[in-house]
């Protein structure tokens, strides 16, 4: 169940982080801020930067962790097969 829990937690967390990164405007519409950054109003440029670089960084993370989870699931499958084989041998003996 370890790999399963990792898969579920990773998917939920990444989905929430991606939704947040792409919807910063929702947060600013609830909690508006004043001021400028890089010459633009903060409420304009932060959603744009987050919607590009924030999402890009999260996809790199998703790529790495997704591959790792595949490996974990394969490992768990092998362990399970070994356990069943061992159990069948013991019952046969």
């Amino acid at each position: 169940m370890k790999a399963y829990r990792l898969e579920v937690r990773f998917t939920v967390l990444l989905a929430v982080l991606l939704l947040a990164a792409g919807n910063i405007a929702l947060f600013f519409s609830i909690f508006p801020v004043e001021g400028n950054l890089f010459g633009f109003p903060i409420m304009y440029i932060i959603p744009i930067l987050s919607g590009w670089f924030g999402v890009l960084i999260l996809t790199v993370v998703a790529n790495n962790i997704g591959n790792k989870i595949d490996t974990e699931i394969e490992k768990a499958n092998e362990e399970e097969e070994e356990r069943v084989e061992k159990q069948e041998k013991e019952e046969g003996a």
Binding site: G22, S29, Y44, V55, L56, G66
Partner: protein, 548 residues
Amino acid sequence: MEETMWRLDNPILGIGAIIVMFLVFYIVSYISNRKSSSVADLYVAGATVGPITNGLAMASTYMSLATFLGITALILELQVPFIMLWIQLILSIPLITIIYGTSLRRMGAFSPTHFIRERYGVKASIIAALFMILVSIMYALGQMIGIALAFEMAFGVPYLPGLIVGGLIIVGYVTIGGMAGASNNAAIQMVIIALMFIIPLGAIMRAMGGDGWFFPPLLYADMVPAMMDAMPNFFDYQFSPKWYFSLLGLTLGSLGLPHLAMRIYTASNLKSARKAMVWFAFIIGLVFSATYAMGFVGVYATQTQGLTISSADADKLTLILNLVYNPEWVTALVIAGAVAAGLSTLSGNLLAIGALLSQDIITTLKPSIPSKTRVKLGYAAVFAGGIISIILAINPPAFLVVSILWAFGLAGVTNAPLIIVGVWWKEANKYGAMAAALVGGILYIIVSPFVFPGIVLTGHGVTDGMGLSGAMLAIPVSFVLLIVVSYITNRIPKLQSTLTTAEDHKLIERIHGWTNVHPKRYNSTVGAAITVVVFSAVAIWSLFPWNL
């Protein structure tokens, strides 16, 4: 006041650029198509496309004329809220990949509907396929309008001949090409789109005196003070948090788009599909940011430079800016780029229609049809879908982007819940799926202004027309119905014998990579209950006044 006719003075430039572009695409299609001998080749290019090609193809399929022409028009007319609306659309491929794309790729699915058939049975898959055909046609409709506008400007002809000539050329290209041609061409198209959008934008900014012309997507801060003087409310959010919350419906909608998800199934393996997602995010972020800059520059030009663009010409903003500030040959190349943008998305739309009709409906009902006939049927469906979208585009809505975003909402209502819940919750069954797709889909259509103009949730034309308000009601209703109806019917003894529960459990475990079935995996009642409570609250909230 006399309206300006925006078109190339020398139509030969526009015609030449489009002909050269099409020649390249036809050659690539022909070479690719020689390799297409099976249904798998036609729809998912034999699942052999590499990550960079696939990432570019994903971006190209997604970056349609809605980005090239449509959203800039909305920024021109309605400013910053529509930039914020567009930003979250980048989430489509990343969310599809992590939530269900790799699972369906592992299953070997041709299309999302293929998964729905395996998971919920034939009836549910046909309902979903019918809705998906409507989604694809509405999506294609927006592209056809943009193609007509591009041809109108290039050839100096009225809208209707532009639509018919442009539409037929493109439908012919896709019908001949198949997905292999589309994938290779889509990658080329993405490069063309990026170059023909961003470089001319830099030239426009330079002509206006902007200092950041060498990297237009982000470097236009020096133009902000003049914009603030001329139009102090440009950066205002204008709408309430509820409007911004409703944008999540578009995000969910993008998860249900059949032509987009199909790009993941063309990947050579899971690692390649994930790498393609990273490339997609990089490229689409670059082009989207350039689009916001194009919208900003368009408003800047009208507010500070004396440029006048009528509301009827808003969809042509990108082309008009080029016509005003760049030499004609540059505008000709930009028109070719716009056609490439429409072409790549229409390829995806029309191929999805082909797959839906021939694979998911006809072959499902008549499985004995030979493989060659199925391929022929696929080509016929691709062609028919194209012709229908041309006919619908004869009387277009005010903004081309409206029909496209409306399609997002319908996909979010009828397709996304079935796939997401179907992949992650074993209890979901065919009764829940059919109730969700039918009730949710019909509800969404009823509250949109196109069928019953009097029954809408906000009364704000663009918000209702784009399906933002309808999706905020119908998507939660669809999720809740799927979960509640499945939960109840699984416990009715008479219905239990009609369900394929054991096979469903095996399928879910298999597509997540497991070789055995564990009763506790993908079976959380608490997770389902939380989803029902949250989505019920959202659906009720959507019925309260929007105050727009």
